[in-house]
Symmetry: D2
Subunit: 83 residues, 4 copies
Amino acid sequence: MHDDLPAGWALTDSGLRREFTFRDFSEAFGFMTRVALEAERRNHHPDWENRWNRVTITLVSHDVGAVTERDHDLAAAIDCLVP
Amino acid sequence: MHDDLPAGWALTDSGLRREFTFRDFSEAFGFMTRVALEAERRNHHPDWENRWNRVTITLVSHDVGAVTERDHDLAAAIDCLVP
Amino acid sequence: MHDDLPAGWALTDSGLRREFTFRDFSEAFGFMTRVALEAERRNHHPDWENRWNRVTITLVSHDVGAVTERDHDLAAAIDCLVP
Amino acid sequence: MHDDLPAGWALTDSGLRREFTFRDFSEAFGFMTRVALEAERRNHHPDWENRWNRVTITLVSHDVGAVTERDHDLAAAIDCLVP
């Protein structure tokens, strides 16, 4: 159904993954806060890591152990939050 | 020394004040988080209020009961955080 | 229906209101972040202000111009987020 | 100098590491926000990851490629932010 990945995202063993790079920690964490709000609203949360200006997000539906529509939808929503 | 206020800021009885309007709550709170980081870094914190997509910030140096260089500097730094 | 206000909250002209005091700005803003997540999840957002270690929250249902069940529910949820 | 690690922290190849578990995402992200404020204040930032209610923090001084006093100090400060 999802032959096309959202631009910038890669399908890995762990899930749908994208790395984001920002100007500094503040811009990175401002983005993370908006992703957190979006995740809580959907009750679908990312696996993610941050190192200063970089944020790596991995999306997978843990309840079914696979990448689902929910992950594709969240990926698209996250892309809209990049400043 | 500060004949000129930073653009968009007004000098009120409470301090240096500016209202910011965003697209939605998420954008407003992402901005607030970045202002919080900047404030903590400087150990100089705003008086502020938020109502969905609006954030009103008032800057004053409470220790001296006046608007000081610190407030002008923080105002300029905050302006850089507007998306 | 709500003869009893949630403990600590007062019914004012602007809505259901409570002031919270924390140890410092960090504790106050950590609390605000959790309230933001809760508000976004419910799509019901507070009017609020912060001054260093104090957070004043006013809850009203702007769409009907009155305090409703949604405000009482959010007030109860917010009370659970106080550290 | 630091024969004793701060309680709960382990010295790994990547740095000083500790995993924190919270009740839910909201509590985890509220903690992360406070850590972010502390990190920005010190201009010393963690490598960290989050998966719903779990936060794993790794501290290392990237400029010298080793665990330093700054990491031990930040670890102690972070421990104080656990709710």
